[in-house]
């Protein structure tokens, strides 16, 4: 089980190591708090607004028909617990990389992966309304936002 072995470390070395580790953790923690890291665990649209490229989407949403019934996450993340956090993780990572490197198209275009999530969420909330016009088999689905492009936050 536990093998004991001796490492010759002087007290000075150990102190230095602990200090460096402390600086790392401290700086990391400060950056996390400074970047409002905890906000990303909420459903608050202001969290998405941390990146100012989302300003147009946020402004559009505040004037949209969905402003009082759905937040960003309601449309853009799956409605299941694991699904929601998985997608939050994937998009969080992708968005962080994109915004940090500046490597993203302008105007921002939704990708297939996220478009499908949004489409699925339209149907989940409006299931009864679209029960007679919606089919979700292969080649069967019609995109809601193809026509209703302004319901969330404008195109």
């Amino acid at each position: 089980m536990s093998a004991s072995f001796k490492v010759n470390v002087s007290f000075g070395m150990l102190s230095l190591l602990v200090a460096v580790l402390g600086i790392l953790v401290g700086l990391g923690a400060y950056t996390f708090v400074y970047a409002r890291g905890f906000s990303y665990f909420s459903d608050d649209p202001k969290a998405c607004l941390n990146c100012h490229v989302m300003r147009d989407a946020f402004d559009g949403w505040r004037h949209s028909s969905h402003r009082s019934v759905a937040t960003c996450n309601d449309c853009h993340t799956p409605h299941t617990f694991p699904g929601k956090w998985l997608v939050k993780g994937i998009n969080g990572w992708n968005h962080s990389v994109a915004f940090t490197t500046g490597d993203f198209p302008d105007p921002i275009r939704i990708r297939e992966f996220n478009a499908r999530i949004a489409q699925q969420n339209c149907v989940e909330c409006h299931e009864v309304l679209v029960s007679q016009i919606h089919r979700s088999g292969p080649h069967q689905e019609l995109s809601c936002v193809f026509c209703h492009g302004n319901v969330g936050h404008g195109r």
């Binding site: 309304l129 029960s131 007679q132 080649h139 026509c147």
Partner: protein
């Protein structure tokens, strides 16, 4: 109190309890989900009656689909005229007298009215003078009778096409019906007419791979297309071997050496174009954007708590809010004006084209009067054919250019140019024969 379990036992009991809770929750969730799905299946479609196999009467289908049927039966109503179309069967030959001359010798010069709604697809066909002045083949029934698929199954494809219309018309009672586009079991969209299937096969398009959005166009394209009757058996055929533009269609007819009729005045081998809506639409911006026929002519509408496809198929101009404003967020008046700009422009070009065609006909007639032979006039006659089929492609297409504004203008520009070339050629023939007269003296 004495201790009942060791701590190890306690742990095991707690673990079993937790697992049991989780399993019960999963089972309950599954049960609720299954019952929900069952309920959904019961709710839609609400099967009041079992639709018998081969049932064509929309009223019977309507028992299960009351909302759709209520809208479909509105195609009986006359909602009036739009600037260039609508559902009032006004006489187009009276409104545009030049048509009689341009179609001289063709049944369309005898009777040509604005179409009424889908409900009348069989009635209006039965009553038009075009089936009286000329013995038409049963091929007409492909689109003008809901019974067509059953007749094809019974008589065979060739027999339906070649049997005279008059012999078969007693078998046709219904115009457009639910079964033309829908599978009665699943209500999925289906292609029921062989001519479209054959034409798409020839173009190398696999209909079994069509998306639902494509099908929302294809079911209409079974009938709203240019067609001709191929060979002695009068097989209904769409001229798409080279593509869907009028230039492609002309190529197809030239390959085959086809003419619909001989022009009474000029003797040119003419092509009569009929309602090529699918072809013209396919070159337009709406087609490029993935908008289907049904999106504008059968837009989704709310009935109580659900949405349905509006089966009152009609001009979007009388339904601007549903048909256009979902995507184009402009006031109705603005949208109406935009359509008017396109259609008025197209109409002006059509009239210009008609003037040029009349000039060509006059010149050819004058050349014949001066003694010109068919051989001398062959170029002028071919130009008359080419010019007029282009004009007819836009005139007979039921959107007055709206389905593809730039293509409509391009085609009419070619028509005007070719008509003037025909006129010039005929004049040169006259000048030439006059020169010949001078030199032989």
């Amino acid at each position: 109190m004495r201790q009942m379990f060791s701590s190890r036992q306690l742990f095991i009991y707690v673990a079993i309890f937790v697992v049991a809770v989780a399993l019960t929750a999963v089972a309950a969730a599954l049960l609720v989900n299954i019952s929900q799905r069952r309920l959904e299946a019961e709710q839609y479609p609400l099967k009041v009656v079992e639709i018998p196999k081969g049932e064509l009467d929309p009223a019977v289908w309507g028992k299960n689909f009351p909302h759709q049927y209520d809208r479909f039966i509105k195609t009986k109503e006359d909602y009036g005229q739009t600037p260039y179309g609508g559902s009032t069967p006004y006489n187009k030959l009276e409104r545009y007298p030049v048509l009689k001359r341009l179609w001289a010798g063709n049944p369309f010069s005898v009777d040509y009215n604005e179409e009424r709604g889908h409900y009348y697809a069989q009635i209006d066909q039965r009553e038009t003078k075009r089936v009286q002045v000329v013995k038409q083949p049963g091929a007409c029934l492909n689109c003008h009778a809901a019974e067509a698929p059953q007749l094809i199954a019974e008589l065979g494809w060739e027999t339906l096409n070649k049997t005279p219309y008059d012999e078969l018309k007693a078998r046709a009672h219904l115009g457009t019906s639910c079964a033309d586009c829908h599978d009665p079991e699943t209500m999925e969209l289906v292609i029921t007419r062989p001519a479209f299937r054959n034409a798409m096969e020839q173009r190398g398009i696999d209909l079994s791979k069509a998306s639902r959005q494509e099908m929302r166009t294809y079911v209409c394209a079974q009938c709203h297309v240019e067609y001709y009757f191929l060979g002695e058996n009068k097989i209904l055929t769409f001229p798409w071997s080279h593509g869907l533009t009028i230039n492609d269609i002309e190529q197809h007819y030239d390959d085959y050496g086809f003419k619909d009729w001989t022009h009474q005045e000029t003797g040119a081998p003419m092509i009569k174009i009929q309602h090529p809506e699918f072809e013209l639409w396919s070159t337009g911006i709406h087609a490029r954007s993935g908008v289907a026929c049904a999106d504008c002519h059968m837009p989704f509408m709310r009935v109580g708590g659900v949405k349905i496809s509006d089966h009152w198929v009609r001009s979007p101009l009388v339904n601007l809010s549903q048909a256009c404003q979902t995507c184009h967020r402009w006031p109705e008046e603005e949208l109406r004006t935009r359509v008017a700009i396109i259609q008025d422009t197209t109409a002006r070009l059509l009239r210009r084209s008609e003037e040029a065609l009349v000039a060509a006909i006059d010149a050819i007639v004058a050349a014949r009067a001066a003694g010109a032979t068919d051989e001398e006039l062959s170029e002028a006659l071919n130009l008359h054919r080419a010019a007029q089929m282009r004009w007819d492609f836009i005139l007979s297409e039921n959107s007055t250019g709206f389905h593809s504004p730039q293509e409509a203008a391009r085609v009419l520009a070619e028509s005007i140019d070719l008509a003037r070339q025909a006129e010039l050629k005929a004049q040169q023939v006259i000048a030439g024969s006059e020169r010949d007269l001078l030199t032989t003296r």
